[in-house]
């Protein structure tokens, strides 16, 4: 589906540019540098860059044209410059290897930076070892497609983000592979944008970091092995579906961290092997439906300030703790989930358990109050306590319960 949207988007451009002049840049061509070609070209022209390493400092594009790299066309920032700055709308950058942007504490130097532009396309590029990979400032209706972005982040304070969007709406990011940056994808004040089928892995902090960005959609992405997973904060109306969050390990790692989120949907995602699958803090009226929660430490950690969230038709299996909370009151709705820890019966065979399930186990409650008690994980004593509590709940919050636990996993 993602690709079709992209094609619709691209066709008018091909048509428009087909009558344009083509400028060739390379060692054996008339134009030796990209700077010369940019100076000579008119709006709508195409600049084709041959194989070779181009060290031209900062390349500023201020005309609407298309810059295409042939195989092994390398733009090198020599660890000093921002490599490409786009200051005109309707620019296409295609097929380059863009490497070694400078590092600065004051300026956010990047592989490709877009400033106050519209309808630009950045595709098939390979960005290596840049401070920031692709940086959007106040730019709209742009696409970032099929780029490979590899950073070399060592510490959080000295590294930048893979794809960084600031105050930019209606953008489209798809099929990018981002690794080794601080945050894989960073959104701040970005509205109505789509993040589709990207792979964000091995980033120092978050695979995806979302702040104050309403009405965005992300689907079919994979976020794995990131320092702390994915964070979505202070946002409304986010739609997240069909993503995979896996292997986000560590003391403060999450599959998905929700902070102050409302009216959002989390549907059909898979959370696998995260320290905490979903961490919800201050979120309200959010749907968590039909997700697979497998082999997480805590599948769901829902704090007392969450309300009106619905947790329906999810599969919980192989998690050490299903639900943890610091609250005694429950203002959220648990219904029709499959819990592998459920040991009730189903007399009328309607596939719905006849006794409610309490997803917050006694041990989970204890570790909430005394975190050091985690040292007793899988100890016989603790299991014994849990079983006793199951038979006769006295300490665990009675309101946290699923009245219709499913006997078999939901087919997703």
């Amino acid at each position: 589906m993602g690709k079709r949207i992209v094609l619709c988007f691209l066709f008018p451009f091909f048509y428009f540019y087909s009558s344009a002049t083509e400028w060739k840049v390379g060692g054996n061509e008339s134009m030796k540098t990209i700077h010369d070609a940019l100076a000579a070209a008119d709006s709508g022209d195409v600049i084709v860059v041959s194989e070779g390493v181009y060290r031209e400092g900062e390349i500023v594009i201020s005309k609407p044209l298309s810059l295409t790299g042939k195989k092994n066309a390398v733009l090198d920032g020599e660890m000093k410059y921002q490599v490409i700055t786009v200051k005109a709308s309707h620019v296409t950058i295609d097929g380059f290897i863009i490497q070694n942007s400078g590092y600065s504490d004051i300026h956010e130097l990047s592989g490709i930076r877009l400033e106050n532009v519209q309808q630009c396309i950045i595709r098939n590029n390979h960005l290596i070892n840049n401070y920031f990979g692709i940086y959007f400032a106040n730019s709209t209706y742009c696409s970032v497609i099929q780029n490979v972005i590899e950073g070399n982040a060592k510490t959080e304070s000295s590294s930048g983000n893979g794809i960084h969007l600031w105050k930019s709406s209606n953008n489209f990011l798809s099929h990018n592979h981002i690794s080794g940056h601080r945050d894989g994808i960073y959104f701040e004040f970005v509205k109505h944008s789509k993040i589709m089928a990207n792979l964000s892995e091995k980033n120092l902090r978050y695979g995806l970091h979302f702040m104050f960005s309403d009405n965005d959609t992300y689907r079919y992405n994979i976020f794995r092995n990131n320092g702390s997973g994915v964070a979505v904060m202070y946002t409304q109306h986010v739609f997240m579906s069909d993503n995979i969050f896996e292997n986000n390990w560590g003391g403060a790692a999450y599959g998905l961290l929700l902070k102050e989120i409302s009216y959002s949907e989390i549907v059909n995602n898979t959370f696998r092997k995260n320290t905490i699958g979903i961490y919800m803090e201050g979120s309200s009226k959010t749907k968590v439906h039909r997700n697979n929660m497998q082999h997480n430490g805590w599948a769901l950690r829902i704090l007392g300030d969450c309300s009106g969230d619905t947790i329906v038709e999810n599969n919980f299996s192989g998690n050490t703790f299903d639900v943890a909370t610091n609250a005694t009151m429950n203002m959220n709705y648990f219904h029709s989930n499959y819990w592998d820890h459920y040991s009730g019966y189903d007399l009328n065979h309607d596939q719905v358990g006849d006794v409610p399930f309490h997803p917050v186990s006694l041990y989970s409650k204890i570790t909430e109050d005394a975190p050091y008690a985690l040292m007793l994980l899988h100890s016989f004593f603790v299991d014994l306590m849990d079983e006793t509590e199951k038979v006769m709940p006295t300490i665990t919050p009675e309101q946290f319960r699923d009245d219709a636990p499913l006997m078999k996993p939901v087919k997703l």
Partner: protein, 255 residues
């Protein structure tokens, strides 16, 4: 000493109990591997068995064996053989056959299913627990000539290490929750071989949850090769101390 060891092994095998134990472990572990597609879960289930059943069988079987072979021991003592050699021979014979039972009963299914590092750790730790609890069994039995009292002490020891200790730890953690407990937690773990065994295996396994908060600390300590060696050394200490203690009592005892 080797001769005594051989006789003890013959004796243990003749009682058929050891064969039943091997079969039980074999059926249980291969059954679990068979039914469960997820080897991580199987290892956790097996961990529960190791932590509960292995110490229990070792300590009870050890005590019963000690009392039942009293006459044989007395006969040996009448010969010009060093008492230490007799004691160690008996201990080695019994613990080796129990350990072998574990290796055959659990090790073989683990190897066949190929379920990774954690399962191998599980078997190693189980074998160490066998040696430790057999030593504790001998310690419990040399202290009294009364069989009932000896078995009672042994069962109490098992109950303390397998169940009660964790309850005490939990109440300590709860009571001193407001204090920084990083070091005490590590120290408390070292005080119980069962807990040590559990933590070592879990760190190879269910790291996701453990790594959370306390787990990071454990990971830092036990996660490195150095930490694992320390933990193994502590387990060996848990073997050495009861064994030498029991040996000393046996050496000085008027039978």
């Amino acid at each position: 000493m080797m001769k005594i060891l051989k006789y003890v092994i013959y004796d243990v095998l003749r009682s058929k109990m050891i064969i039943a134990y091997t079969l039980f472990l074999f059926l249980l572990s291969s059954g679990l591997f068979w039914m469960n597609t997820d080897s991580g879960k199987t290892v956790v289930s097996l961990l529960h068995v190791i932590l509960l059943v292995v110490p229990l069988i070792s300590i009870v079987f050890g005590t019963i064996h000690y009392y039942n072979s009293r006459e044989f021991t007395e006969l040996l003592l009448a010969q010009p053989i060093n008492r230490n050699k007799i004691f160690l021979g008996e201990y080695a014979g019994l613990s080796c056959s129990l350990a072998f039972a574990l290796l055959a009963g659990m090790g073989v299914p683990v190897l066949i299913s190929g379920s990774g590092e954690a399962a191998v750790y599980l078997v190693v730790v189980g074998i160490l627990l066998t040696f430790i609890f057999t030593a504790l069994a001998f310690l419990a039995s040399v202290r009294s000539t009364d069989k009932a009292r000896g078995i009672g002490t042994a069962l109490l020891l098992w109950f303390y290490f397998a169940v009660l200790f964790d309850g005490i730890v939990l109440s300590i953690l709860f009571y001193f929750n407001d204090y920084p407990l990083e070091k005490p937690v590590l120290f408390l773990t070292a005080l119980n071989p069962v807990d040590l065994a559990r933590v070592i295996t879990l760190l190879k396994l269910d790291t996701s949850a453990l790594m959370g908060y306390t787990g990071a600390l454990y990971q830092k300590f036990f996660g490195s090769a150095w930490g694992i060696s320390i933990a193994m050394l502590l387990l060996l200490l848990w073997l050495y101390v009861p064994l030498t203690w029991a040996k000393r009592i046996f050496f000085r005892k008027d039978l």
